[in-house]
């Protein structure tokens, strides 16, 4: 059953991709959706068995790499962390598959799309079910590749190509760091097995552990789109909307979070890494929220909101509240998938318009989509008792409850971010649904509520966005809950849930909620009742500067393009010219051939045809032979028995004889 969870999406992907011509569009829809739904049902049973009954499963499929002390096997490990995240992944993925049936109904490449989607799910499952870092890395790379393919799904569009390249190269940067981290882990522990590593961590030098943790963090930063490796995520909104929902909101970006959650025993022994993670996480949350404030692309706003929420998760990890981070990950998967799918429904029914400035007044035309978007937004901005509230609010309380510098930093930035989040969420709602219509009349006439294949996923996700947190928060993050058993490790010194729950001033506890409400009210007021203020503000030069600064995403892309990318290209050119076509060419193909020809010519020159010269050669040969035979007596080593020495003799012979002119 456990292996079926992983293999079913893969089989669906293979059938849809390789036999797409045979099974047809409907066939591939049917096969992939059935596989995904079956897999989700099995994952539900696994959640009951592993999570609720508390019996982790370990499956070893046999050895894969055996090389001296490195022994890696195909093993899968289903513990509470795996099944919790797997539940979110598979549910979101199944719903998005169903949604895509309608969303891509007019696309000519349905089989390819569904194949990619299922392959992505399989990769993600491999990633979260892997029993060692190596198997996890395969899943990691698989979702990286599929992410590239999916962003580049409309491969004729240059923007999509560029976004895909950006996403892939940026992730490669992170993967490089992470691979070095794996090397370091192997050098330290002699194994890549979770169980071996985690049981040895307490005995290892703290500096070394910090190094490993920071290297792993590098990979997580790229995959989870945190500063400074975030800029691929907004770009990848070029992909079809279901892809944005599945990969770039609900699942793929949580891979980095999963890596850090899984490595919690490593992180816990490195205060430095935790501090760095907290700082990066809070900065990312704040930065992305302010960027999202003034974006005009519907999907980009939600993308920045994703980065911001990922920042929250990072922050929770940095505060070593891994269970809260996991709850936020799962919650976020549901409401962010809902938001993206809702946005997709809007875009689809409104003549593929993505610019929020050209929408407005859609509440009359798309009441259901409006309702689910509103639910998603409310959940996102942590309205009390909706799903997002249970994790996001708790993260901020825990940050305050640390009573430390990093906790305070996280709390302040996180609270401000909560306000800004509310503002941009309601800005989106206002601009798309509430304000006066700004689009073309034809678009309004053609706009229509989506059909049942879209409504069902939206409805289910909306229900999850409302109730999931209420039902599961006590299980995941309740005081004293032992749900996670050994899968997440929180060092006893770092447990601060008691302070957070019982000792904080109610004003502090309510502060994020108050800020959220203020932000939301402000957005509705500014964009519906008094738009003159914003128009007036952007007419001043300061307002213009702020607008272009935030709309330009702090000019991160500009800085990257000007300094890093061009320097990288220059470096690449130099390396290619000086090393590849220079040094290696000289030593390798060209140089070696030349050396052998010269040696041959020089040896041929020795053949003079004069007998006395030959007599000299005979004598020299005799003497060297005598020397070789008696060398063990003279210098205490046998020169013939060393095969390496003989190779050196020949090499030096060639070198000595190779110069073209004497």
């Amino acid at each position: 059953m456990y292996l079926s969870i992983i293999i079913l999406p893969l089989l669906g992907s293979l059938v849809s991709g390789l036999l797409g011509r045979k099974v047809g569009v409907t066939g591939s829809h049917f096969v992939t959706c059935t596989c995904l739904i079956l897999s989700s049902l099995l994952m539900t049973i696994a959640f009951y068995e592993v999570g609720l009954c508390g019996s982790p499963v370990h499956i070893n499929l046999g050895s894969w790499v055996e090389s001296e002390i490195m022994s890696i096997s195909w093993e899968f490990y289903f513990d509470q962390l795996t099944v919790s995240l797997g539940l979110a992944v598979l549910y979101c993925s199944s719903l998005i598959h169903i949604y895509s049936i309608d969303y891509l109904s007019s696309d000519p490449h349905n089989q390819r799309f569904f194949s990619y989607l299922s392959a992505f799910t399989a990769g993600m499952l491999l990633l979260i079910c892997g029993g060692n870092y190596f198997v996890m890395f395969i899943g990691w790379e698989a979702i990286g590749v599929v992410s590239y393919l999916l962003i580049n799904y409309y491969f004729t569009r240059i923007q999509a190509n560029k976004a895909a390249m950006l996403a892939f190269t940026m992730n490669r940067g992170g993967d490089m760091l992470m691979s070095i981290g794996f090397f370091a882990i192997f050098a330290l522990f002699g194994s890549l097995n979770y169980s071996v590593i985690f049981s040895l961590v307490p005995y290892i030098n703290e500096t070394t552990i910090s190094l490993v943790a920071l290297l792993l963090l590098g990979g997580a930063l790229a995959k989870s789109a945190n500063i400074p490796l975030h800029s691929w995520l907004p770009g990848s909104m070029e992909a079809p909307t279901p892809v944005s929902a599945l990969l770039h909101a609900a699942t793929l970006v949580t891979a980095g979070i999963y890596l850090l959650l899984r490595s919690s025993p490593i992180l816990e022994f490195s205060p430095t890494a935790l501090l760095v993670i907290t700082l990066i996480g809070s900065t990312t949350a704040f930065f992305a929220a302010t960027c999202g404030l003034l974006q005009n692309d519907l999907k980009r706003i939600i993308a920045f909101s994703t980065i911001s929420q990922l920042g929250y998760m990072m922050m929770a990890i940095g505060l070593s509240q891994y269970n809260v981070a996991l709850l936020h990950t799962v919650n976020h998967a549901f409401f962010k998938a809902l938001l993206f799918l809702g946005a997709g429904a809007v875009i689809h029914s409104f003549a593929d318009q993505q610019d929020v400035r050209r929408m407005g007044g859609l509440i009359k035309f798309l009441p259901f989509t409006y309702s689910v978007m509103l639910v998603g937004s409310l959940s996102l901005l942590a309205t009390p008792y909706l799903t997002g509230f249970y994790s996001k609010d708790l993260i901020l309380e825990l940050a305050y409850g640390q009573y430390s510098f990093s906790g305070m930093y996280a709390f302040i930035l996180g609270s401000i971010t909560a306000g800004i989040t509310a503002f941009y969420s309601f800005r989106l709602i206002s601009l798309v649904f509430l304000t006066t219509p700004n689009g073309q009349k034809q678009s309004y006439l053609n706009s229509h509520e989506s059909n049942i294949a879209v409504i069902i996923p939206l409805l289910i996700l909306a229900l999850f966005s409302i109730f999931f947190g209420y039902v599961f928060s006590d299980l995941f993050v309740g005081v004293g809950s032992d749900f996670f058993g050994n899968s997440l490790f929180i060092h006893p010194n770092n447990i601060s849930i008691i302070e957070a729950e019982f000792s904080i001033n109610p004003v502090i506890k309510l502060l994020p909620a108050i800020l959220s409400l203020t932000g939301a009210t402000l957005a509705i007021l500014l964009y519906n009742k008094a738009p003159e203020f914003i128009i007036g503000f952007t007419d001043t030069s300061l307002g213009r500067k702020i607008y272009s600064f935030l709309n330009g995403k702090y000019y991160f892309d500009v800085i990257y393009n000007h300094y890093i990318v061009s320097a990288g290209l220059q470096l690449g050119y130099t390396i290619s010219k000086q090393i590849d076509r220079g040094a290696i060419e000289l030593l390798g193909p060209y140089g070696l051939a030349k050396a052998f020809t010269n040696t041959g010519m020089n040896i041929a020159k020795l053949d003079t045809g004069i007998i006395t010269t030959y007599s000299l050669y005979i004598t020299i040969g005799l003497l060297s032979l005598l020397f070789l035979v008696f060398a063990p007596v003279l210098i205490d080593t046998s020169m013939i028995s060393e095969i390496r020495l003989i190779i050196i003799y020949f090499a030096s012979l060639i070198l000595v004889l190779s110069p073209s002119k004497f």
Partner: protein, 88 residues
């Protein structure tokens, strides 16, 4: 023993260093052979072993045969080319 080694060196040097005379070369080879024979004789005498002395007689007779072959080749060569100089 020193005598035989010096003789052997003389033979080798004569073999290498002469530039034109092939008869000198044959003589040098002969000197080397005789030096080795002398060495064998001396050591067999030292070890009080008759096998070595018998062996040296063998070497002398074979050396004689060898020099005869060399000289006769020279004679044939001279008849063919009219010279026995090493410089061609």
């Amino acid at each position: 023993m020193n005598l035989s080694i010096i003789l052997f060196l003389i033979g080798i040097l004569g073999f290498i260093l002469n530039r034109k005379n092939i008869i000198l070369m044959i003589i040098a080879i002969e000197i080397m052979l005789l030096a080795v024979t002398l060495l064998v004789l001396i050591s067999s005498y030292g070890f009080d072993d008759n096998v070595g002395q018998t062996f040296s007689i063998y070497i002398i007779s074979i050396a004689g045969a060898e020099s005869v072959i060399g000289l006769s080749i020279l004679v044939a060569y001279y008849r063919l080319r009219g010279t026995i100089s090493l410089r061609t």
